[in-house]
């Protein structure tokens, strides 16, 4: 019935129900998968409306999916349902150079928007490391970050308006300057639980006239993290401030020869972009601070090619760890920036205690840690040790006044950890928003909210 109706509405090439096809959409980049009842590949907003209505009639939940790069199981159909893949809705619909904005479909790959805008001297600022493959719809669903959101802000700062299909298959639109509640902000980061974004107006920025990228090398990771805290405490916000430890730089150099010093215990990758008059001064001030904190060397990239290769190495770091272990698990927590040294010491201690190799590659300037825990999925003991380590790191972040997700989202993985940072009242307040947009809990069910705080009856109406 479901299959027939979907095929009738979309055509057979847009509906997949064969077991081998369904298997492809069972997983995202998280450990566990699910099992969709059907996979659909809409071509238009109208298709999306039709899919939602059919799924609703058949009692099937809807799980919207971008590129499936999410690390928290946000795109996994945990309780089955219809997966809605945006692979075929990947166009730039309007490009308004004069007002520096573009309207895009959700399946458009993040980097493709920046490529599209480059000839106009513009770029799209949020740049998650997955930007070569992750989709803007997925970025919007998770309020994705990236190295440059230290200065430019996360995805929500760059969304000007949305077209959304609701849980009944009806379309509504939001715009940042509309009077009334900021529904744009409510949608961004809601992980597909409040509506399905079918197009978005995104803000573009002018490419900076001057960019400098430098690498500071340290003999120990403590000194590097103290230098980061000191830079922020001095009131300096570089455009990006990233850290990598020697586990990561070794893997990156082996794979890409990006030019990172492998003999250092930790390196900072620091970008200053903006006006010629300012970037030099900012870089000099940062250089002085890292030197005071014991940096053994500083190297500035001499040209665009050197900058590009340093960044390519950074953004491919996670993939490069394949040389260390067959699998890695990325934890994503955020701590106050003055607590970075303690947080990193705790990450090291937890990994050692559990016998896990850890590599740190993260957005240090934001206090957003990404310890990569290396393991072999086939070894149950290692899996258990990774889970234990990840959990300890999560608790460390909470204890230091931080949060359980800086930029990857809650998804399926961290839903139960929500009670560790929010009270029942806090969560029930969020659930009121869900009650309005998805009272039947058919949009990406079993995500974000911990078991027990998902029903309207938690707060009597």
């Amino acid at each position: 019935m479901l299959r027939e109706r979907l095929i009738e509405a979309l055509g057979s090439d847009a509906v997949k129900t064969a077991p081998e096809d369904l298997a492809v959409y069972a997983f995202d980049a998280y450990l566990d998968g699910g099992r969709p009842s059907a996979v659909t590949l809409p071509r238009s907003t109208r298709d999306v409306c039709a899919i939602v209505k059919i799924a609703r009639d058949c009692g099937e939940p809807i799980v919207a999916r971008g590129a499936g790069t999410g690390l928290c199981g946000g795109a996994v159909p945990k309780v089955g349902g219809v997966v809605l893949s945006f692979a075929r809705m990947n166009r730039v619909l309007e490009f308004d150079e004069r007002h520096r904005r573009a309207r895009v479909q959700p399946g458009l790959v993040n980097l493709d928007l920046t490529r599209h805008a480059a000839s106009s001297g513009l770029f799209y600022a949020p740049d998650p490391s997955s930007q070569q493959i992750s989709s803007l719809g997925g970025n919007i669903a998770t309020n994705a970050g990236g190295p440059h959101c230290l200065s430019y802000g996360t995805t929500v700062n760059h969304v000007l308006g949305l077209e959304v299909v609701d849980a009944n298959g009806e379309v509504f639109t939001t715009a940042l300057d509309d009077a009334g509640y900021d529904l744009t902000a409510a949608m961004v980061g809601s992980e597909g639980t409040l509506g399905i974004v079918t197009s978005a107006w995104l803000r573009l920025l002018a490419l900076p006239e001057s960019v400098r990228v430098g690498v500071a090398a340290f003999d120990d990771i403590d000194a590097a993290s103290e230098a980061v805290s000191a830079i922020i405490a001095a009131g300096i916000l570089p455009t990006a401030l990233e850290m990598m430890d020697d586990v990561i730089t070794a893997a990156v150099e082996a794979a890409f020869h990006a030019g990172y010093p492998t003999e250092a215990a930790a390196v900072l990758l620091i970008e200053n972009a903006g006006f010629e008059e300012d970037v030099g001064a900012s870089e000099a001030a940062i250089q002085a601070i890292v030197t005071r904190h014991g940096a053994r060397s500083w190297r500035s990239a001499r040209n665009q090619a050197e900058r590009d290769v340093l960044w390519a190495g950074r953004k491919s770091a996670a993939g490069a760890t394949g040389r260390i272990a067959p699998n890695y698990y990325t934890q994503d927590v955020c701590v106050p920036r003055s607590r970075l040294p303690q947080a990193l010491r705790a990450v090291g201690a937890a990994s050692r205690a559990n016998g896990i190799t850890v590599g740190n590659v993260f957005h240090a300037g934001d206090g957003n840690l990404h310890p990569l825990l290396m393991y072999d999925r086939r070894d149950e003991k290692q899996v258990a040790a990774v889970v234990a380590t990840g959990n300890e790191i999560l608790q460390t972040a909470i204890d230091l006044g931080g949060t359980i997700s800086g930029e990857h989202g809650i998804g399926w993985e961290k839903r139960d950890a929500m009670t560790r940072i929010y009270s029942t009242d806090d969560l029930a307040t969020m659930a009121r928003v869900r009650d309005v947009f998805d009272p039947a809990r058919m949009l990406n069910p079993e995500k974000i909210f911990p078991r027990g705080v998902q029903c309207a009856e938690v707060v009597p109406p």
Binding site: F275, D278, D425, D435
Partner: protein
């Protein structure tokens, strides 16, 4: 309805919760008041039994200066917060009118948008955590004290601009940015014939000003009583070196546009800028109404001149501030005679909205306000907004009727 209205000034979030819960149970309506600087926005409440003032909720809850984050109680005046941050070399670009009275909570709840947002971001984008009291007295927190946080829905941004109709903000956590070290103001007369060329030149500047206005009228509020009718006022901010470069660039741009003379002000540049922001809501009592419109940036000057034309056709005095960087236009219409004004304003309001449906009233204490379209045409998603209001405040206890669509 009670004969005497009660005024409550609680000193804690718990105190707010107690009052709100009591009113909600008893069917009493609450008007939430901060510094009362934006009372001219929105509709007057349908009914007020209790005025809940937030001015007792003052002070800094946590000042993590080395993390560039701060937690502030909602009744704290913006000016106090701004000067504390300035003493630490930090700032948040609120650009609220009358900052010595405007409270943090009121500025956020009103969704106030200042002229420097194109460069530094909107107040909402600095908000990393909130404490709010819902209509049933529930105390709910969202976000935290870290600069990146995607744990759950972005409730804090949802409360910004909600006009107190979802809950009473009692505390806000903010991230801060380094305060620009230098500021310089440019003032130039801008006769009609130079206007278009000047705007074109300004939009092509390599170093964007942090604010740029074309102003007509508002002499008393901005320059004292003198000054040319049309003028350009422009604020540069940043390092000394950058401002020097921007100055050269700007001078030659204005020269090319044929702008006759430019005056530069360094000492007091920010104060002069603040006077423009104050003028956004400066009211002439029962003789004026001020509208605000958000066209696209390049359309601000033409929108402003259309508005002027319309005011003229009603024989009303029209004064405008066109924000060239963001595209806002502020229009104050007035008449020397309050009776004459009263007889025209409703028709003017109708004609303005026929031309510019989204225009909102930002300053009016006119008795006819109830008949004006103070929020402009309701937004596309108004039904969903109503549902949200109903879920958060089913008894319509908080600021009833003040918001968009009578919410």
């Amino acid at each position: 309805m009670r004969a005497t209205r009660e005024r409550a000034t609680p000193k804690s979030t718990q105190g707010v919760a107690k009052i709100v819960a009591r009113c909600d149970r008893g069917g009493n309506k609450i008007r939430i008041a901060g510094g009362e600087t934006l009372n001219g926005m929105g509709h007057a409440p349908e009914r007020v039994d209790v005025t809940l003032s937030t001015v007792g909720l003052t002070g800094i809850a946590a000042n993590e200066r080395t993390d560039l984050v701060i937690s502030v109680r909602a009744g704290t005046p913006i000016a106090n917060l701004t000067s504390l941050l300035a003493s630490q070399g930090q700032f948040v670009p609120f650009d609220a009118p009358q900052p010595q009275y405007a409270t943090l909570g009121g500025t956020l709840a009103a969704g106030w948008l200042g002229p420097r947002r194109h460069l530094y971001g909107r107040p909402r984008d600095f908000l990393i955590g909130t404490t709010i009291v819902l209509a049933d007295g529930t105390i709910a927190r969202a976000g935290g004290m870290v600069v990146k946080n995607v744990a759950g829905y972005d409730m804090s941004r949802l409360y910004v601009g909600s006009f107190g109709t979802l809950g009473v903000l009692t505390q806000a956590n903010l991230k801060t940015i380094p305060r620009p070290t230098h500021a310089r103001l440019f003032l130039a007369p801008l006769p009609e014939r130079t206007r278009e060329r000047a705007c074109t030149q300004l939009s092509a500047l390599r170093v964007p000003p942090s604010a740029a206005f074309v102003i007509e009228g508002f002499h008393h509020a901005i320059d004292g009583d003198e000054g040319p009718e049309g003028r350009l006022l422009l604020l540069l901010e940043g390092s000394a070196a950058l401002i020097e470069r921007a100055t050269l660039e700007l001078r030659s741009a204005l020269g090319r546009a044929g702008v006759p003379e430019t005056r530069i002000v360094d000492a007091g540049a920010r104060e002069a800028f603040e006077r423009v922001v104050d003028a956004y809501v400066a009211s002439l009592g029962e003789r004026s109404v001020t509208y605000r419109l958000y066209p696209l940036a390049r359309e601000a000057p033409s929108s402003a001149s259309q508005m002027h034309g319309l005011a003229q056709s009603f024989e009303l005095r029209g004064e405008t501030i066109a924000d060239l960087m963001n595209g806002d236009v502020v229009l104050r219409v007035s008449d020397l005679d309050s009776h004459a004004f009263g007889s025209k304003i409703e028709n003017f309001d109708e004609a303005l909205h026929a031309m510019m449906p989204a225009a909102q009233v930002v300053a009016s204490n006119h008795p006819h306000r109830a008949n004006l379209r103070v929020w402009g045409t309701p937004p596309a998603a108004i039904d969903r907004m109503r549902a949200l209001k109903a879920r958060f405040d089913p008894n319509r206890t908080l600021n009833p009727g003040c918001f968009v669509g009578g919410m």
